[in-house]
C-alpha cells in the first residue's frame, strides 16, 4: 500500500517585523491510508503550522522554503490554488479546536453541510439535504431534521464539534486533519468525540492527522506519533513504542510531567525546567539542550539529525548514538519507582 500523504524535509518560514523566522525545520513524516498519525508538542512547536501547510493555508506571510508535501502522488507544494481548492473539503478536510469560530453564525447548520456536497459532488439541493440529515444522524445528533434548521449558537460545544465533523466528513475525504479537536470540550464530551471519530474512521477508512498537546488523546487514538519541539520532530515512533520506551529526553520529560491518576496525591510533578525557546533566539546545537538534564558539550555545538534507531523509531538526540540512551531509560525507571 502506498503512502497517502508524504511530507519530506519541510521548512516553513514566516515574514514579520523582525525579518524572516523559520517556524518549521526539516519535518518529514508519512501517513498510510486509514491510519491515525499524531503530531504532539507544546504551543509554538510548529505542529499547527505543519498541518496548515498541508492544506495550503499558510496565508500571505508564510511560505514553504524547502521540501515538499505529496498527497496521493500529487505534489501539493507545486499545486495551483485552483487544484488546492478542489482538494480541500473533498479529499482532505480539517476540523479545528473552537467549532464556534469555524461555523457560519448566520447560516443554518444543514445548509453548511450541504454546501460541500453541492460544490464538490454537484449534488442536487434535495439529495444534499437528505445526505446532510443522514450525516447529522451518523455523528450522533438527536432529531437531525430539526437540528438541521438550527443555527450554531443554539447548540452546545460538543454538538458544534459534531457538526464540524459532519461537514468535514460529508464528502468522504481520504484524510482528516484534526487540530486540537477536543481541547475546548469538557472531558466527558471529549470522550464522546474521540469515540465518534474512531467509529467514522473505521466505517470510511479515513486517515487522520491528529494535532494535539494532549498525550492522553494521543494514547487513545493514534497509531503513529511524532513529537515536535521548537519547530522540529525530535522523536517519532508507533504509539506503543513511544509510550513504553520514549528515547528523547524531551519526550521523557513530557511523559513524566503528565499528572498521573495512579500516583499518590500531594507528590510533586517532575517538571521540565525552563521554557520553550523563542523562534528568534533558537539555541545552537540541539534545540532542547538548555532544558535537557543530560546535555553535554557536543549538544551545545552540533545539531543532531533525526536518526533511525530501528523499526520506524526515529530520535533526534546525540545520546541515542551511544549506550547512554539506555542509561537514560534506566534513570527514568528508577525515577518512576521513587515516584511510586
Amino acid at each position: 500500500m502506498g503512502e497517502l500523504l508524504k511530507v519530506e524535509r519541510l521548512q516553513i518560514a514566516f515574514r514579520g517585523d523582525q525579518g524572516e523566522t523559520i517556524s518549521v525545520e526539516d519535518v518529514s513524516f508519512a501517513i498510510q491510508p486509514g491510519e491515525t498519525m499524531a503530531i504532539v508538542g507544546e504551543s509554538g512547536c510548529g505542529k499547527s503550522v505543519t498541518s496548515l501547510a498541508i492544506m495550503g493555508l499558510l496565508g500571505a506571510s508564510g511560505s514553504i522554503k524547502r521540501g515538499y508535501i505529496s498527497f496521493l502522488d500529487t505534489n501539493l507544494t507545486a499545486a495551483s490554488e485552483q487544484q488546492l481548492r478542489k482538494m480541500r473539503g473533498s479529499q482532505v478536510s480539517m476540523i479545528f479546536q473552537e467549532p464556534m469560530t469555524s461555523l457560519n453564525p448566520v447560516m443554518p447548520i444543514g445548509r453548511q453541510i450541504e454546501e460541500a456536497l453541492r460544490l464538490h459532488l454537484k449534488s442536487s439541493r434535495k439529495e444534499a439535504r437528505q445526505s446532510a440529515i443522514d450525516m447529522l444522524r451518523k455523528v450522533g445528533i438527536p432529531r437531525p431534521e430539526t437540528i438541521a434548521k438550527a443555527y450554531p449558537h443554539m447548540l452546545s460545544g460538543g454538538m458544534r464539534q459534531r457538526v464540524m465533523i459532519a461537514i468535514a466528513l460529508i464528502c468522504q475525504p481520504k484524510l482528516l486533519i484534526a487540530d486540537e479537536p477536543t481541547t475546548a470540550l469538557d472531558v466527558t464530551i471529549q470522550a464522546q468525540i474521540i469515540e465518534l471519530m474512531q467509529t467514522l474512521q473505521a466505517e470510511n477508512g479515513t486517515a487522520i492527522l491528529l494535532v494535539t498537546h494532549d498525550l492522553g488523546v494521543v494514547a487513545a487514538m493514534a497509531d503513529h506519533v511524532a513529537v515536535m519541539y521548537a519547530g522540529q520532530i525530535v522523536e517519532a515512533a508507533d504509539v506503543y513504542t513511544l509510550f513504553r520506551s520514549p528515547r528523547h529526553p524531551y519526550t521523557q520529560g513530557l511523559m513524566n510531567s503528565i499528572p498521573r491518576l495512579d500516583a499518590i496525591s500531594g507528590g510533586r510533578a517532575p517538571a521540565i525546567p525552563g521554557q520553550v525557546p523563542s523562534l528568534h533566539e533558537m539555541p545552537t546545537g540541539c534545540r532542547f539542550h538548555p532544558r535537557c538534564p543530560y546535555a553535554e558539550a557536543s549538544c551545545r555545538e552540533l545539531q543532531p539529525e533525526l536518526m533511525e534507531t530501528g523499526d520506524r523509531h526515529r530520535v533526534r538526540c546525540w545520546l541515542t548514538e551511544t549506550s547512554e540512551a539506555d542509561q537514560i531509560a534506566v534513570h527514568r525507571d528508577t525515577r518512576q519507582k521513587v515516584a511510586l
Binding site: V187, E195, P259
Partner: protein, 337 residues
C-alpha cells in the same frame, strides 16, 4: 458539628481550624427574556452548597463547564452576590458585609485566574503593578516598596529584574507567576485558584503546581483549587469536591475519592480522562458518559444526574438525594460500593 478535623493521615498530630465555612450557599443569576427584559426565572448556578475549608488544606473542585464551580469560588470571596446562605471567614459572617467592611477580609482572600494576561495591565511595568496596591493600602512605604516587590518576585521564582518589564515580554507560565505574586502581596490566608494551569503547556503546568505547593508550605496558605484537569487536582488537593449542576455530589479525601468513587457521576467523570497509555485504550472504551449537561435554568427533577445515570431508578426521578455528612460524603440514593 465537629469543629476541628485532622485531614492529613500522614500528620495525624496536626489539628486544623476551619478557615472558611460555607453554609447552604446559593447563587442565582436572573434569566431575562431577550426582547422585553422581563425576569423569566433564574439560573441556580450554585444551589444549597455547604463546605468547610480548613486551614492549610487544598480542596479541589471539579466538574464539567457550567456546573457552578467557578461561581462558587467567586461567591465565597464575594465577587458575586449570594442569593441565600452564609459565608463565614475566620469566624466572621461576611455574607452581607458592605464594600467598606469587606476591605480587610478581601486582603486575606485572593484569587488567581486562568488567563493572567487578561488581568495584567499591558501598559504597566510588573514592578509598578505590584507596588501600586501595597502603596494604596499602606502595606509598604515608598522607601520599602521596592524591596517588598523584589521579595514577592523572589517568592514566585522570578528575578528582581522582571519588575522593569512589561506583561507582553513574559511567557504564559511567567505571567501566571506574576498573577500569583500579585495575589500574595496582601499576605492572604485563602487563595481561590480558578483553573490556574489549564491554559499552560503541560511542561509548564507542573512548574506552577510545584510552585503553588511550595508556597502553601512556606506561607501556610489554604487553597480552593478549581479545575477541570483531574490530574492537577489529584496532585495538589487534600480533599476533592465534585460538582454537578450547582450541587456538590461527592466530597472525600483525594486518595479515597480516586480509589473508590461512590457517586456514579464521579466514576464516569474519572473514567472519561484518557489514560496516557495506549495499552489501556480498549479497556476504557466500554463506559462513556453520554449526553450533554442539562441546562441549569431547568434542572431535572429528583437527582439532577438521573437523566445521564446508568443506574437511575424510579426513586431518583422523584426524590432529591442529600449530601451525607460523613467523611466521604455522597449525594446518591444508591451509591456505589
Amino acid at each position: 458539628m465537629n469543629e476541628t478535623v485532622s485531614f492529613l493521615d500522614r500528620e495525624p498530630a496536626i489539628e486544623h481550624k476551619p478557615l472558611m465555612q460555607i453554609e447552604r450557599l446559593s447563587t442565582h443569576y436572573p434569566l431575562r427574556s431577550a426582547l422585553f427584559s422581563r425576569r423569566a426565572g433564574s439560573v441556580k448556578a450554585v444551589d444549597d452548597v455547604s463546605l468547610t475549608l480548613y486551614e492549610g488544606e487544598t480542596v479541589g473542585l471539579v466538574g464539567e463547564s457550567g456546573c457552578g464551580k467557578s461561581t462558587l469560588g467567586r461567591t465565597i470571596i464575594r465577587l458575586e452576590p449570594a442569593h441565600s446562605g452564609r459565608i463565614r471567614f475566620e469566624g466572621d459572617d461576611i455574607t452581607h458585609y458592605t464594600p467598606k467592611q469587606l476591605i480587610p477580609a478581601r486582603m486575606r482572600m485572593q484569587m488567581i485566574f486562568q488567563d493572567p494576561y487578561g488581568s495584567l495591565n499591558p501598559r504597566m511595568r510588573i514592578g509598578d503593578m505590584l507596588a501600586e496596591p501595597l502603596l494604596v493600602h499602606r502595606l509598604a512605604s515608598r522607601k520599602d516598596v521596592r524591596r517588598e516587590v523584589d521579595r514577592l518576585l523572589g517568592l514566585v521564582g522570578l528575578p528582581a529584574s522582571a519588575g522593569n518589564r512589561y506583561p507582553h515580554e513574559f511567557s504564559g507560565g511567567q505571567r501566571q507567576r506574576i498573577g500569583i505574586a500579585r495575589a500574595l502581596s496582601f499576605r492572604p490566608k485563602l487563595l481561590v485558584c480558578d483553573e490556574p494551569v489549564s491554559a499552560l503547556d503541560v511542561s509548564i503546568q507542573a512548574q506552577i503546581l510545584n510552585l503553588l505547593q511550595d508556597l502553601q508550605q512556606e506561607l501556610k496558605l489554604t487553597y480552593l483549587f478549581i479545575a477541570h484537569g483531574i490530574g492537577a487536582v489529584k496532585q495538589i488537593s487534600t480533599r476533592v469536591a465534585v460538582m454537578y449542576l450547582g450541587k456538590i455530589v461527592e466530597l472525600a479525601d483525594t486518595e479515597e475519592l480516586f480509589r473508590k468513587p461512590r457517586h456514579p457521576y464521579t466514576q464516569l467523570l474519572l473514567n472519561a480522562y484518557p489514560p496516557p497509555d495506549p495499552a489501556l485504550r480498549r479497556e476504557r472504551a466500554r463506559v462513556i458518559l453520554h449526553g450533554d449537561v442539562p441546562s441549569p435554568a431547568n434542572p431535572p427533577s429528583g437527582c439532577r444526574f438521573h437523566t445521564r445515570c446508568p443506574y437511575a431508578e424510579q426513586r431518583c426521578r422523584i426524590e432529591e438525594p442529600l449530601l451525607t455528612e460523613n467523611r466521604h460524603a455522597v449525594a446518591c440514593h444508591y451509591p456505589l460500593e
